[in-house]
Amino acid sequence: MVSDTKGILYKTAPLKLWNKARELRVNHYKEIQEAPEKGRLLVGGSVQAYPSLIAGFGDFAHLGGEAYGATIATDPDFALKCAEAVEARGYARDLCSYMRMYWGSMFLDRYPFGGKFPHPNLLLHLHFCDTHGKWYQVVSDYLGIPCKVIEFPTGGWGQREDLKVEYLSTQFNDAVEWMEKTLGRKSDDELMIESMKTEFMSQSLWGEIALLNQAIPAPLDHKTMPTLHVLGVLMRHKKECADFYKDLLEEVRERVAQKIAVVPTERLRLLHDGQPPWTFLEIFRYLEKFGAAVVGSHYLFYLGGTLWEREDGVLERRKTPQELGIPMRNREEALKVYAQWILYKNMWSRAICLPSEERSDQVLKLVRQWRCDGVVIHLNRGCENMSYGCMENKLALNEAGVPTMTYEGNQADARELDTSQIINRVDAFMESFGLSKLEK
């Protein structure tokens, strides 16, 4: 795959749907800003926290913490103020940086898009890492708003799954009943079920789009994918997200058929392990100077989407419950199906719940199936959860003959990211492949 040929190898073209993706995201954050003054229900919590459970209560806006933190990170001045506001209150600097950005915005009462921090009416949240339950405990205390946290059962991947489905689905039911009591109205189960079906579809579609990146040349890369995957993170329960992904799937299929590359000089394919460093996305543009395309990541594939692993270990599109004819006729059935979908789908299932060995195995599968020459590992000081297993990943990849490069950074706190050091490492990594820059 590593070619001696220099220069342009493939044609390239911008994504037709790029502006649409940005527009959807901008509208999402505008809706959050306007929700309080319009009297619209605003719910806070993790971006992964089960929007379909809320959908049964009708129209709502959702302030998902992690993506919000990432958004703030892209504004260095505001991000620094947020971090300092949190530290001034005695919180440690090594805590989750998504959370510190969120908290900072809350303590400063400032919204990155202008105006005050929008107060949610309630918090529906999920707990899967050490941070999450505590994150919203502080938010609930500070804003004086009710909070319900659902625990995502971890550990023992593939074992005692029926117990986990039961635990998760009963918590879902408990959360719906809690919202009914808190909001003073009943959930419309039909609306909830419809929303679940849309969620499944959106996630399945993003997974299918991710699969297309196995193509050479890759139609998408790690600089373009965040803007596209984030819709599945923020609004996967909405029809506009599923519709967008349907359209995007067609466009990306076309790009594959026409061999339209996102990096026209693609001569090296890399996987990225861990969150992108939101304060230094230029790293991916820098890699392109060498003709290196970062074609995938665990994080971007699984946060907004899902994939299915066949018996032979190959990852393929995951069919939705509605495609498989799994009934969701009432609340009880629907919540169980929802729990099963989420337990399998998820990035955490594959990052946190998996034993370290299996997590390394998953990364290796991505490397092989997406035809990668190496892996760039972000040793992320801002997320201990995603850093879980990262060193063992490195060992396992090296043992399997896959070259790796690590860089220490922080997903959202620019103070912990030394850009010149990272550039030096990239230079050395590229040199190890015998590659020099194609452009200055």
Binding site: Y91, C129, G133, K134, Y136, R160, P355, E384, K394
Partner: protein, 384 residues
């Protein structure tokens, strides 16, 4: 200057067992022919392990500098988890027949994960202890987990675990907890007969030895301590709150300055043994209830904050004058709670000193800070 009185007899033996934990376990194996199961995290249901005739030993560090874990555990993870893994990689736990963990913090899970990859044993078990201990829905889930764990132990040992065996094990553990509570109660006295360091060694020894043998030592220790007279009133009565902490050198230093650590809230202390199992017909459910309602690790203390009411009561009952907030470097769960606890302690006029711990503690520098802290407490008590 009054110095915390050191005890003799049985109390001294706790320290000896802690120092020689590996020799103890190897000798126990030889003596009984039984298996030894290493565990990470005190949410592991040891009663079931005891009922299976297996010796549970908590895997802990040795407080020595090491360089063997860097390829396995990211540097941002706490020193304790790295110290634990280092012991395994250095072969100090080569006598273990199995390892297990109860779902706990990310860092210790990484130590367990790396252990199972590089030091595999015939029995490796991930016990899914819920993090959401406050929901009633956790009880049926945890009870089912207990059932599955029991079945796994039976398969491993080839022995059935009867209700009778579980009852006996619960009896042993409840006795153990009761005896330690009784000894802790003695520290409410104006002249505590046992120091904070000795109390920590007592608890930590219990995490490393056969509970029946630990009970014998505890009974002996209780008798000795109740007879003890002529003790000194400490200059300050302190509570230690925080992460895993078995740094006896630090505690010894604090108490050499005239203070006494009269009570604690950490998992090498009271959190380990505070509440008993309330027996019921459904033994596994009884066990689940005990582990769900024990004083919570901050990793599990949400949505409501249950730690502060418990800590406040400890401070009241043990007449605490100052608090040492100990946190293992990078320990997220405790980093979340410390600002809140600091605020509540302040509201209660209990001064606090925050100290960040690593594998090795800078005792000299900490001494200076602790001295100043104790002067502050003594000054405040004079003003009152």
């Amino acid at each position: 200057m009054a110095v915390a009185v050191k005890s003799g007899g049985a109390v001294k033996q706790f320290g000896a067992i802690r120092q020689n934990r590996h020799e103890y376990a190897k000798e126990w194996k030889k003596r009984t022919g039984g298996k030894v199961l290493g565990y990470f995290c005190t949410y592991v249901p040891e009663e079931l392990i005891e009922a299976a005739g297996v010796l549970p030993v908590r895997i802990m560090g040795s407080h020595e500098p090491e360089d063997v874990t860097e390829p396995h555990i990211y540097k941002m993870y706490c020193p304790f988890c790295r110290d634990c893994l280092a012991q395994g990689l250095k072969g100090r736990y080569d006598y273990l027949d199995g390892v297990m963990i109860a779902h706990s913090c990310t860092h210790i899970r990484q130590a367990y994960a790396s252990w199972t990859i590089h030091l595999p044993t015939s029995f490796q078990y991930y016990f899914s202890m819920p993090a959401k201990v406050q929901t009633p829905l956790a009880k049926p889930f945890l009870t089912s987990e207990m059932k599955a764990f029991k079945a796994a132990l039976e398969k491993w040992t080839g022995q059935k675990i009867s209700d009778d065996k579980i009852d006996k094990a619960i009896g042993v553990y409840n006795t153990n907890r009761r005896l330690m509570r009784e000894i802790y109660d003695l520290r409410k006295s104006a002249t505590p007969p046992i120091s904070g360091m000795e109390s920590m060694e007592m608890v930590v020894a219990g995490q490393m030895m056969d509970k029946k043998e630990h009970n014998k030592l505890l009974e002996q220790a209780l008798t000795e301590l109740k007879k003890k007279t002529g003790g000194n009133e400490p200059s300050s009565r302190l509570i230690i709150i925080g992460s895993e902490d078995d740094d006896t050198e630090f505690l010894d230093m604090v108490e050499s300055l005239g203070a006494s650590v009269v009570v604690d809230d950490h998992c090498t202390g009271s959190r380990y043994f505070w509440n008993e199992v309330v027996p019921k017909d459904n033994r596994l459910e009884a066990l689940a209830e005990r582990y769900l309602t024990r004083p919570a690790c901050p990793q599990k203390d949400w949505e409501e904050r249950t730690r502060w009411p418990h800590i406040e009561k400890l401070c009241d009952d043990w007449k605490v004058q100052g608090a040492l907030l100990i946190q293992q470097k990078f320990c997220d769960p405790h980093e979340f709670d410390i600002p809140y606890l600091n605020k509540k302690l302040q509201e209660k006029n209990i001064p606090s000193l925050f100290l960040e711990f690593d594998v090795l503690v800078p005792v000299g520098q900490f001494r200076t800070r602790v001295e100043a802290f104790l002067e502050m407490i003594q000054q405040a008590s004079l003003e009152f």
